[in-house]
Amino acid sequence: MNAAVTGAWVCLLAPLAGALAITLAGERISRRTAGWISTLTTFVAFAGALDAFIRLWARNHGDREVLSTAYTWLAAGDFEVGFQILVDPLSTVMMLVVSGVGGLIVWYSMGYMAGDDEERRYFAYMSLFVFSMLLLVEAGNFLLLLVGWGLVGLASYLLIGFWHERAEAVAAAKKAFVVNAFGDATFALALVLLVWETGTLEYPSVFERVDGLSSTIVTLVALGLLGGAVAKSAQIPLHTWLPDAMEGPTPVSALIHAATMVTAGVYLLVRTSPVFEAAVEIQHLAAILGAVTLVAAGLIALVQWDIKRVIAYSTMSQIGYMFLAAGIGAYGYAIFHLMTHAFFKALLFMSAGVVIHHLHGEQDIRRMGGLRAVLPRTHVAFGVGTLALVGIPPLAGFWSKDGIIASALATGGVLGWSLYLAALVGALLTGMYALRLYFAVWQGPPRETEDEAHTHASGQSEGPLSMLVPVGVLTCLSTIGGLLVVPGLWKPFEHWVEESAEALVHPTVAQDYATSVVAVALGLVGVWLARRAFEHGRQLVTDPTAWRILERKLYVDELYDAVFYRPAAALAVTLRQDVEGPVVERSLDEIGAGTLHAGGELSRAQSGLLRTYAITVAFAVSVLVVVFVAVR
């Protein structure tokens, strides 16, 4: 077997082994051991990914695509799907991000979840998630991609609903699963079309044949895939599940609902770019949905009170940038922003986790403030994350986000300019909501009671080492992680990814730096607005109507409730009461009663039920036989 592939298989299977080991061991191992098994297997996966990456790097340019099939997973007639992985520049980057950031977050969980009485279950789910996510990014064909796609949804369901005694958590978990099941269904329909039209689901063969397909078919396939991507990445209009998903433990939000799973839609757009390039309207639709989402989510983030929900809407907004990038063919920047976002967003969630931990579960930012003095190290981490998110140079978010905005500029035309404007508005909004959150939590007078402050001052208020080290590592990555692409100087990251997906748009160095100036200026305006509002004790949205509309998330939940859920429930009740009940069951009750009655009569008459029955049957059958044979 090819050496690069071995590392990739190790990367894939180590977390699965971890999940199985924890599940099977049950209470025979301590909670702490379960945590270590989960953490270490994830780091083993990272080592495997690193090995695969280095070996792939050592190969010649143009020879960096290895498909490795373990066995035939599903087969019928001529149709075959292998259990196979694809090791190429794109998948190795994703493997590194997933297992690397994943390992840090699982490690962090050991501190965060300490004392929860179901820690073993938690770590088993986390390992299951890491395995599923790695399967998603390593899959060598569409069906296996869908398998990973569905399994991350399952892990997400399990972890959102981890505290299953809370009704909100269970409802949020179900909602996430059902919305994603809808995405899975459109995804599956796209695959059905591919099987019929190309006869295969392996990426290379499908991409070769995609040009030969009719434009209707390609458009439908792309639309089906986009449906899956939009649902998984919580883009408008299938975004409603993500804010509710914050009911899960905070490390889960960091791993699944910020760094990895929700960005799977972006990965899908880049991975299957030949399909989208053949259906360019749908590719542009992805960009437009991304632009709409990045603005709308940025606006909604302005009115949220829950620290995690602010960050969740920020995630939606940032994924909007990635969709925009993938939709105009700036694949390298889409994946680059995916990676830097994984760093700084995981960092923000994990620092928020320290805050929540410190405040015994308090998540409302109205009851926070002045934590700078109490949690100095976390303050630095959160600050770095915030600035990276806003896109202040030289932090990670600056390089990746400005690359995307410059690509929109380079695209030109009505579409390019509209996207460009939306992205700039997004930059302004990012500055506003990010700093609104920062000021509310860290600055101003402390709002804790004296008692609480006292207890914490004495102890390790910023959490154990297992929480501090991952936060520290991510702080470093959020600071320097963007330097892998410096326009005009070097762009190794972009070139690496674009070996897998050749970009359609290349901004010039001038476009890059001009955009940077505008975007950073707008970001700083946002910061200034947030600061002024904070100093005057005002909110950034002052109009009550606007506030209410944003607070209700633009009424999309209500819309789905009215359009899908209630009609479906009403239909179910109607069918049960008006069709199933009277027509089927009750009429049968009548027959049943009638037969009983007849049976009683017959036995009273001593006429020999069996004989009568036999004669009747024989007669009826003979008549039927004659009829069947005679009537043609």
């Binding site: 049950g26 398998v147 005694e165 069951e585 039927l624």
Partner: protein, 480 residues
């Protein structure tokens, strides 16, 4: 010979159990032993089976009534062997469950269960229409008694509706069997050719539609699945329903190509309607059994879609899904039984919060539920995907219906899981209600393990069900 042994072992076991006056525990033990021996025998059969050829094997043919062309003819194709495998495993679990809860009048009860197993196996093995008819009818007798005597409060009504429906089906089928045999000059499925008689086909089709059940022939289902002892409901929905699928695969499609071609649109529409109808009713069903029963009906619609797509993907997918559903449905019914046993009710309103302190129940129910809702990566997903792809050939609308059913399945299954496990304990959940006992684990987990193995390798079934490489070739010929 091996096929005959597979049929006779449970039947003889039933006789011994019925006749020998053993104490309660020994009776149950003996029945379970027979069921496990049957599983062992199936493993031997599977090991002897030449999976590469997949054609009719391990068979026996003896002249019976030569003058009218009736023979005792049994044997197994790949798909029959898989269906028999699901049958023997589910039966063993059901008998084990009955032994665990301790049913009244054990000798009669276990004898009937074993006899039922033999009859189902015989149906799956029949290569002669008279043998098929006798086996098909022989399944009904133990079912009538099991539901009518050991059922719940409304068992009489349940039995009566079941009897009326199945009797009508049987009557039509008997007429069709005779008419087919008379016109062909033989009852042997191996020797007879095809027929273009629509009425004869309809006789068979209605009998199968009742047995599956397909919409709108399902009137017996809600009561029977609610009132039957839970392990009988498990056998009924898991394997007895699959005799209809076998009937379509072995008789309906190969023997009646023209009527099938004419009626395929109608059957597909009814199957798709049943898939949606069952899913929607399951979504609002007030009790556990209702959810499992209607989801079972929905799944039969799905499998029928695959059969009548009549291409490689649809047919291979339908056999895979038939095996999957047998295992899933039995697991779900047994789990429902275990929950009902603890709480005294299956009403969703009265349940809840059982995950806390009952990790094994929670894990097992979650795994079963996730496979039931066909989470991607599960063998049920594989089957559903094949059927969906196959039926697309008959129209994109059917594929869209299957896709919609994926979402509905998520909705009703998650509702069931949460209603039992999550939030606060319901009024029927006692604080000291136990977690699954080791015996219960031993009954359900083997079924789930089979499903997990299939999930790792669904091609095991989908690749080996029909002779040669092409499933469609099997049903296109008269498969003599």
């Amino acid at each position: 010979m091996l096929t005959t042994a597979l049929i006779l072992l449970p039947v003889l076991g039933a006789l011994v159990v019925a006749i020998v006056p053993l104490p309660r525990l020994a009776t149950a033990g003996l029945a379970l032993l027979v069921a496990l021996l049957e599983v062992g025998l199936w493993i031997v059969a599977a090991a002897r089976f030449d999976w590469d050829s997949g054609g009719l094997q391990l068979g026996t043919t003896r002249e019976w009534v030569e003058s009218v062309g009736i023979s005792y003819s049994v044997g197994l194709y790949g798909f029959s062997l898989w269906l028999v495998g699901a049958t023997v495993i589910v039966s063993a679990a059901a008998i084990g469950y009955a032994a665990w809860v301790g049913r009244e009048r054990p000798r009669a009860y276990f004898a009937l269960l074993l006899f039922l197993t033999g009859a189902v196996v015989a149906t799956f093995a029949a290569q002669d229409l008279i043998v098929f008819y006798v086996a098909f009818e022989a399944m009904l007798i133990p079912l009538y008694v099991l539901v009518g005597v050991w059922g719940g409060a409304r068992r009489q009504a349940a039995t009566m509706t079941f009897v009326v429906y199945t009797m009508v089906g049987s009557l039509l089928m008997l007429a069709s069997v005779v008419a087919f045999g008379v016109t062909q000059g033989t009852f042997s499925l191996l020797e007879s050719g095809t027929s273009d008689n629509l009425w004869i086909f309809l006789g068979f089709a209605i009998a199968f539609a009742v047995k599956a059940p397909l919409f709108p022939f399902h009137g017996w289902l809600p009561l029977a699945y609610r009132e039957a002892p839970v392990e009988v409901a498990a056998v009924l929905s898991a394997v007895v329903s699959k005799t209809a699928i076998y009937g379509f695969l072995r008789i309906g499609l190969p023997k009646f190509p023209e009527p099938v071609a004419d009626l395929t649109p109608l059957v597909l529409v009814l199957a798709a309607a049943g898939l949606l109808y069952g899913s929607i009713l399951a979504f609002r069903s007030p009790d556990l059994r209702g959810i499992v029963a209607y989801s079972s009906m929905a799944q039969m619609g799905l499998i029928t879609l695959g059969v009548f797509a009549a291409n490689d993907l649809g047919l291979d997918g339908s056999v895979l899904q038939a095996v999957n559903h047998a295992l899933v449905s039995a697991s779900m019914f047994l789990l429902v039984g275990m929950v009902e046993h603890r709480c005294g009710t299956g009403e969703l309103d009265a349940l809840g919060g059982m995950a806390r302190g009952r990790p094994v129940l929670a894990t097992v129910l979650l795994v079963a539920g996730m496979i039931a809702l066909a989470v991607p990566g599960s063998t049920t997903f594989a089957g559903e995907f094949l059927i969906m792809t196959g039926v697309y050939g008959e129209g994109w609308g059917y594929a869209a219906v299957v896709a919609l059913a994926i979402v509905l399945a998520a909705m009703y299954t998650l509702r069931l899981i949460s209603a039992v496990l999550h939030v606060q304990p319901g009024r029927a959940v006692r604080r000291d209600a136990l977690d699954l006992r080791p015996v219960e684990v031993g009954l359900v987990v083997p079924l789930l393990l089979c499903l997990l193995v299939l999930s790792a390798w669904p091609a095991l079934v989908s690749q080996s069900s029909f002779p040669g490489d092409r499933a469609s070739a099997f049903v296109e010929g008269s498969s003599r």
